[in-house]
């Protein structure tokens, strides 16, 4: 059988908790991890008579994000009630945005550093603000089927970012998520912690299958319950394959069956059908009469644009253009976050040696960060110190063969180059001392001299080892150069 030929069509819905101190419509804390129901008030618990008041800072963060996603910002936006019953939704409705979202029609560019897919723009249908629901905890273990509700999360500001179905592979979906998370991190609008639920992903996927009668589309499936980007990629891989098989068995096309929701089972690595909503939900959206519409002025938008930090895409370009990093290296660096990039830039600028700075930061610094699990802010060798080390190598004051020892000393003992050099007994060897040493070595090794004279230059290598043994500070290159010079000067 031929391998299946089909096109995968993916759109993603991402919910991001915004990094406000307080909730979207009341002043309760949004801190994660507090004891259940301790961060609540009459507003977020839906007490009779309580009224919401919009958190302006949350709107500001949403605006910043939407602008960074190249969205259009309508001058007028409003709040709507989305109505459904669930115990973690104490008002019986969620305050969200329906027909007039605060932003729409944006895009996010994704690329693969290894060129697995061509660089492309994924359309952003809309990004809107809404309040989070609480958490239900079902304790079925004890056989009591007891459910408990924690309303601490209720009312936390969520930005729902809906993409167009523009992704054509699970890898592209993962790239989109990675780029989106990076953008949000650079904007500092969310901590994007998937484990704590500050970033949640739902995917819509179906297939385009070419047939003799033209391309047909399979029914769209919504996949939920994916707790990492890796899980998203795997779930979508699995789901594409499953849909192809279902299509072969049933021939179902889009519209033939109701939209299905499936949950990813990370243990079994399969998607499972969730109890289909027999009656397709009617959320009965209508404008929330408790809140006034929000108007956004030109000045407000200009202000956000002015204060916008350099975003990952622009930063990547700058690293490639100004510091000659490869696309791949720039990607690796930018993915580490803004503070590491700033660290690198400082090292490169101070040392005026971007190449060496790149190597040091990408190899030694990043390896150490990975091994120790600390962030660049806590790294013992600051950028200024590392730049000194790079400069010493560049100026020939420090031989690269010993530079790692110096780095290690600076890491472990004291982040001071001079102290490290002194402690390790590293000093620049005087030229005359070096010439004397070479003369002595040549005199003691007539066979090497003869070999070199016979054309075997590599024989010098033996002398370099001996020279380093006698004086560890000698520069191997210089030893080679001087020895060859002296041999050449010998009468043959």
């Amino acid at each position: 059988m031929n391998p299946p030929t089909y096109e995968i069509i993916i759109g993603l819905e991402v919910h991001v908790q915004l990094a406000t101190r307080t909730k979207l419509f009341c002043r309760c804390s949004t801190q994660f991890g507090a004891s259940p129901n301790t961060q609540t008030c009459p507003v977020c618990t839906g007490s009779p008579g309580a009224l919401p008041v919009m958190n302006r800072y949350a709107f500001q963060l949403a605006l910043q994000t939407a602008i960074a996603l190249n969205c259009e910002i309508p001058r007028f936006t409003k709040w709507d009630r989305k109505q459904y019953y669930y115990p973690d939704l104490p008002k019986g409705y969620q305050i969200s945005q329906f027909d007039l979202p605060m932003s729409e029609h944006g895009w996010l560019e994704i690329s693969d550093p290894e060129g697995a897919f061509p660089t492309k723009r994924v359309g952003i249908t809309r990004a809107h603000l809404e309040e989070d629901a609480g958490k239900s905890m079902h304790d079925e273990a004890a056989g009591k089927a007891d459910s408990r509700i924690d309303l601490n999360r209720t009312g936390t500001p969520l930005l729902e970012i809906v993409s167009e179905p523009d992704m054509r592979s699970p890898l592209e979906a993962k790239a989109y998520l990675t780029e989106l998370r990076l953008l949000l991190t650079y904007l500092q609008v969310s901590d994007c912690n998937m484990q704590e639920g500050s970033l949640r992903v739902d995917a819509n996927i179906n297939l385009g299958i070419p047939t003799d009668d033209g391309e047909i589309r399979t029914p769209i499936v919504e996949v939920k319950n994916m707790n990492s980007f890796r899980a998203v990629e795997r779930a979508l891989d699995y789901e594409a394959e499953r849909q192809y098989q279902v299509w072969q068995e049933t021939g179902h096309r889009i519209g033939d069956v109701p939209k299905q929701t499936r949950g990813w089972d990370d243990q079994l690595q399969v998607t499972k059908g969730q109890r289909s909503k027999e009656e397709s939900s009617d959320y009965r959206y209508f404008p929330d009469p408790d809140l006034i519409p929000v108007t956004v002025s030109e000045e407000q938008i200009d202000e956000v644009v002015k204060k916008q930090p350099e975003l990952p895409a622009a930063l990547r370009e700058r690293l490639q253009a100004n510091y000659k990093l490869s696309h791949y290296d720039a990607d690796v660096m930018v993915n580490q976050g803004r503070s590491l990039v700033d660290y690198f830039i400082e090292v490169a600028d101070r040392s005026q040696d971007a190449k060496r700075a790149t190597n040091w930061v990408q190899q030694d610094v990043m390896r150490t960060l990975n091994e120790t699990g600390i962030g660049i802010d806590e790294f013992p060798i600051n950028a200024e110190r590392l730049a000194e080390l790079v400069l010493a190598i560049k100026n020939g004051e420090l031989d690269s063969s010993r530079s790692r020892d110096v780095f290690q000393f600076m890491m472990d003992e004291k982040p001071d180059l001079q102290a490290a050099l002194k402690a390790l007994g590293i000093e620049k060897v005087d030229d005359s001392v070096l010439v004397d040493l070479c003369r002595t070595l040549l005199a003691a090794n007539p066979k090497v001299v003869a070999d070199v004279q016979a054309g075997k230059q590599q024989a010098i290598g033996a002398l370099i080892g001996q020279a380093k043994k006698q004086n560890p500070n000698v520069n191997p290159g210089q030893v080679r150069e001087i020895c060859l010079q002296l041999i050449q000067e010998m009468p043959s």
């Binding site: 009459p42 618990t45 839906g46 007490s47 009779p48 008579g49 309580a50 009224l51 919401p52 008041v53 919009m54 009630r81 109505q83 019953y85 115990p87 104490p90 008002k91 019986g92 409705y93 509700i149 027999e278 009617d282 009965r284 959206y285 209508f286 009469p289 408790d290 809140l291 006034i292």
Partner: protein, 513 residues
């Protein structure tokens, strides 16, 4: 004159002058309630000890020379739709019969801050849905003028307690006429402020875009005093206005000159009780005698007001009342019985071999919602939840809710146009006087038509007042309505007071006890 016959302003001044203590005033009202409310049943809850304690605190502050605010020591009744911390707030519903809110409504805080003494919580139609207070799940309130008749509603308890001399001041809420109509039925003054004039924070929502809190009292100056205490911006209510609050009680006795009044021909058409029409005409003559010009005007879209109102209000109500689901607070059905029922239903279906139907059985959660709401709400509340749910459903939204919003805009522009030519709209409050208890129980539409002249103010967001302007041959009070543009309460109160200065309807009291 007994204490309970004094006006609120007199009470306040007597207390301030040391002629009377707040404790004595409060005790006098508690005694009156004790004597008369077993007949009227205007109060759902009276906490005598707490009221006396509040009164003594005011007296102490006065004794130590502190200023105590504009309500200094005056007792006040609160409609049981406003949250009072730690005290029952039933909304006259089985759903919230045991509910004690964790906070005070802003208005309650304001009353306390102004030195008011909270006497108790008054009866209403369940969740303010109704026009007779017969929809209360707690008790039946009677009209003090005729105990066989309704006091009106939904603020029936609020109006009846003032009419019965059981509170000098009372706070009600008005969504479609719920202050003005019971005020008219009970022969007292009732003011519906402009939408946004008084904070709704802590007012249990019926229809959020229409609800307003307002005062009821015997006299216009007393109503002005209470409005002054409760009006103003509240950062906890996004829809509350930031406009400064005039000192209504200080200007209320200044007459207006060259007043232009307009009476809408639509408010004098078929359906209006001739006796009511006659009293309202007589009131208009009083204004003429005071130099006002009166012209006929038209509110061409007013005939659609009831229809629009009974789409918009239930739509919002269906959403506002979704929170009463038995999960977090309030009434919850008997869970053991619920599980037993489900088990029996499942077994019966299995025995009959109907396995598909077993899968369609409610989950215990869904059944808990269904039963709690079925048992916790009364029939009028259910009717409105169903109407609202229907109107907001996909496929019907445009035809009902959206259409109603368009009508609402037309009604608002009717008033805008009228107010270009006249200062106030004058007319009856209700088509008829207080009706006998039970008379409209099976006829919700007739009851809805009681709101014919009042809903326009709510839909347009303007302010209006109901002032007693006479009595029928059988002694039932008739109300006069004045409607004014948004945030014109100051002039509206002055105009209404001009009428009371010339007439004595507000000084007549029913006989109780």
């Amino acid at each position: 004159m007994s204490i309970t016959q004094l006006s609120a302003l007199e009470l306040r001044d007597h207390i301030a002058d040391g002629k009377l203590t707040s404790e004595a005033a409060t005790q006098a009202y508690l005694d009156r309630i004790e004597a008369c409310d077993s007949e009227v049943k205007s109060y759902i809850e009276v906490d005598a000890d707490d009221a006396l304690q509040q009164a003594r605190e005011v007296d102490q502050r006065l004794a130590s020379g502190e200023s105590v605010g504009c309500l200094g020591g005056v007792p006040i009744a609160i409609k049981d739709l406003l949250c009072t911390r730690g005290q029952v707030t039933t909304c006259a519903s089985r759903m919230l019969q045991e509910y004690r809110p964790p906070y005070n409504a802003t208005v309650v805080e304001k009353v306390k801050a102004a030195g008011g003494v909270l006497l108790g919580k008054t009866n209403l139609d369940e969740f303010a849905m109704g026009g007779s207070t017969e929809n209360s799940a707690i008790q039946l309130t009677r009209n003090p003028w005729d105990l066989s008749r309704v006091p009106g509603g939904s603020s029936g308890g609020a109006a009846a307690c003032v009419a019965g001399g059981m509170a000098p001041l009372s706070i009600g809420t008005d969504t479609g006429g719920s202050i003005r109509q019971p005020a008219a039925f009970c022969g007292v003054v009732g003011l519906k402020p402009t939408y946004g004039r008084v904070s709704r924070y802590g007012l249990v929502a019926f229809a959020s875009s229409l609800d307003q809190i307002g005062p009821l009292a015997w006299s216009v100056p007393d109503a002005a005093l209470l409005l002054e205490a409760i009006a103003g911006h509240d950062p906890q209510d996004s829809t509350s206005a930031t406009k400064p609050v005039p000192l209504y009680s200080e200007t209320v006795d200044q007459p207006l000159k060259g007043m232009k009044l307009g009476y809408p021909r639509e408010h004098f058409e078929a359906g209006l009780n001739p006796e009511v029409a006659e009293k309202v005409q007589a009131a208009m003559d009083v204004y003429r005698s005071l130099g006002a010009s009166i012209t006929e005007i038209s509110l061409p879209h007013s005939k659609y007001a009831i229809a629009a109102y009974y789409i918009i209000a239930p739509s919002e109500a269906s959403s506002n009342l979704a929170r009463y689901d038995g999960a977090h607070y309030g009434y919850r059905t008997d869970e053991k019985q619920l599980l037993r029922e489900l088990k029996e239903e499942r077994e019966a279906l299995e025995a009959a071999g109907k396995y598909d139907a077993v899968n369609d059985l409610d989950s215990p959660l869904i059944r808990m919602y269904r039963k709690s709401r079925a048992e916790g709400f009364g029939s009028e509340v259910k009717r409105r939840i169903m109407i609202g749910t229907y109107a907001l459903s996909s496929g019907y939204y445009d035809a009902y809710y959206l259409k109603a919003l368009k009508v609402r805009r037309l009604i608002r522009s009717d008033f805008d146009q009228v107010f270009e030519n006249v200062d106030f709209v004058i007319g009856p409050v209700t088509p008829d006087v207080a009706f006998p208890i039970g008379a409209m129980t099976d006829d919700p539409l007739s009851l809805y038509l009681q709101d014919l002249y009042t809903v326009g103010s709510n839909l347009a967001g303007i302010t209006s007042i109901s002032v007693p302007c006479g009595a029928t041959a059988s002694g039932l009070p008739v109300g006069l309505q004045l409607q004014a543009p948004a945030f014109e309460e100051e002039r509206l109160l002055r105009a209404a007071n001009m009428f009371q200065v010339e007439t004595d309807w507000h000084t007549r009291r029913p006989t109780l006890g």
